[in-house]
Subunit: 333 residues, 2 copies
DNA sequence: ATTAGCACTGGTAACTTTTTAGTGCTAAAT
DNA sequence: ATTTAGCACTAAAAAGTTACCAGTGCTAAT
């Protein structure tokens, strides 16, 4: 591919992104000061290389997945946010008052507003969380709340009605034993070690140890179950995209959004910004997912932007780069 | 309306529910041993009364909202669940091990499975909740968890990073004061009384009382904000309904489902089963909402089934009646 | 290497025709 | 007094026409 061909590919991708109409040779004449015939020749060449596609013999060209990929990797230049957008994000990130989860949540909302795509956060993956503390808070004679906290600052509570034959101080005692033995254990290994290490000990000291054990077991189990938090913002932005103009597509994408496993699958541990275009996105062939990891005061997760394959990549990349930079700044504050 | 006309109306409503096609006179001849002409006459009469409608001059009849209503109130007979369905529900309701919220959640899932409609629960309305206890659980020097519990057994937690100049025992002391003064206060009045009654007291005893006050204020505020829990099950069942075969309708109903205020609006305090057909449902003219209150060990809420106006009312009513009965049973256990 | 010219193509939109499933009404039959 | 057969009529849906448009690829000339 020579320089002119690259320019042409870039132009085609970008006009297609804007117009959503197959790009014909005529429209490009002016821009390149060439006749439509020449452009047609070049287009045919780019098609041979697999960067462009045609819907049918006599239609204009649209970028193929390979074409989008080449564009993102080699031709696109991330676009800076405008001042207003920057300001909005900055005030959120540097507001130390906000709880972390709120910061992320508000950030998501802004992302979906300024991109007009859907944003998803996946946070609190339990795998990297270790136990910091478990507490028993009595409410009345029949109820206690079990609090589980992790080193990353996640807290979950679960209420239990306790039968008469269990005494609250037995629960408290057990929680102290757990705290002594298991602090620092990865949260998804806690149940196992609870059985192997804690159960033998409490069996000697506590009468109804089976029932007590069950309560803690349930509390931790609950924690692992709810471990990946999914939060969407701007779900319906997806439906506003003109590619979703027919019933089947809409139903399809909605079902995909509801499919937790599919959504969780977005999570990545790679650093930097990753793009998954079309089929790679696992959602559907019209969708692109762009994502990046975040780590905000120890709470880690993935931010993803889900939009049409025909996405404004420059804007999205500019946005995510900006967010990454702000997060980095905050780390050093 | 004589007996025959009622029978006819019933038949028309039920076949329309099954087929979704305007019902013509011919198809009913066999059932009634009458000629199509006679049936046409009767239909014209029912139309005059407002129970039936026509799409255009020469189409079959469809039930009007008034028609559906008359059907539900006078003609329909709730249909018993089959054994399998009953069993599924019973095992959930009588499993005392399950936490209340899990019971409801599983119940929802079964409802949407056996009806093929969407189910919604609205629970934990803060209005009827009063404060039972607030606790401060320290995590480390910079973080505490504030736990708020209500008399109905709802617990929420919120983590705070606390600045160096606040000491944890000041927070604990304040929580004790709150517990002394405000237990039994309706949860949405707590913030107010916090300012009027608690703030003056702590201002004398605690140095950084403003910051401490803020922390508790935020904790209660959070509680009220999250007070009505909305939980959907089988959202996409709605899209499977053949009335949602065009883009506009689909987008519309999806947006309605996302509109919290609209959904919260379902909540009712009436006893028994209520039906809101078509426009009454506030969702859209094709939708019916059938709902009932539940009270499970003190946790109250509303269960609603959202489906097309052309809903299998007999099945839905049978189902909700069964659930009500089971809930009543459980109360007396 | 570029371009003008031309035959060709598949999709779209608009219009027409045909078919279909129903209606209401009248007059005759029960 | 009901019920029914028969017929003219209707709106919508389906199928068929036609014309047009926005493109293409290829060839021959520049």
């Amino acid at each position: 591919m020579d320089e002119r061909q690259k320019e042409l590919l870039k132009e085609i991708v970008e006009t297609y992104i804007k117009t959503i109409k197959p790009v014909g040779s005529k429209g490009l004449c002016d821009k390149f000061n060439l006749s439509s015939a020449t452009i047609r020749n070049e287009m045919a060449f780019l098609e041979q290389l697999g960067y462009l596609e045609k819907n049918h013999v006599s239609s204009g060209r649209i970028p193929s997945e390979k074409g989008y990929k080449y564009y993102v990797e080699n031709l696109m230049k991330p676009k800076e946010l405008n001042g207003e957008e920057m300001l909005k994000l900055q005030t959120i990130f540097h507001n130390q008052e906000l709880q972390i989860s709120d910061t992320i949540q508000e950030c998501m909302q802004i992302i979906s507003e300024i991109t007009n795509y859907t944003s998803v956060v996946l946070g609190k993956s339990s795998k990297e969380n270790t136990l910091r503390q478990v507490s028993i808070v009595p409410i009345d004679n029949n109820q206690v709340v079990a609090l589980v906290c992790t080193d990353k600052g996640i807290v979950e509570n679960k209420t239990f009605r306790i039968p008469d034959y269990i005494f609250i101080d037995e629960l408290v005692k057990t929680s102290e034993i757990i705290n002594k033995l298991l602090i620092g254990t990865p949260i998804d290994e806690v149940s196992e070690r609870l059985e192997l290490e804690v159960k033998p000990i409490i069996s000697k000291r506590i009468k109804q140890y089976e029932a007590v054990y069950e309560i803690f077991y349930d509390a931790f189990n609950d924690f692992t179950k709810n471990s990946t938090n999914i939060f969407f913002s701007g779900k319906s932005n997806m439906l506003k995209q003109p590619e979703y103009d027919n019933v089947e597509e809409i139903k399809n994408i909605i079902n995909k959004f509801e499919d937790e496993n599919l959504v969780k699958n977005i999570e990545s541990i790679n650093d930097g910004i990753n793009v998954y275009i079309g089929d790679e996105s696992k959602f559907d062939s019209n969708v692109t997912v762009v994502k990046t990891r975040y780590n905000l005061n120890g709470e880690e997760g993935t931010i993803a932007i889900v939009g049409p394959k025909r996405m404004e990549y420059d804007k999205v990349f500019g946005l995510l780069e900006f967010i990454n930079k702000e997060l980095e700044k905050r780390k050093n504050e």
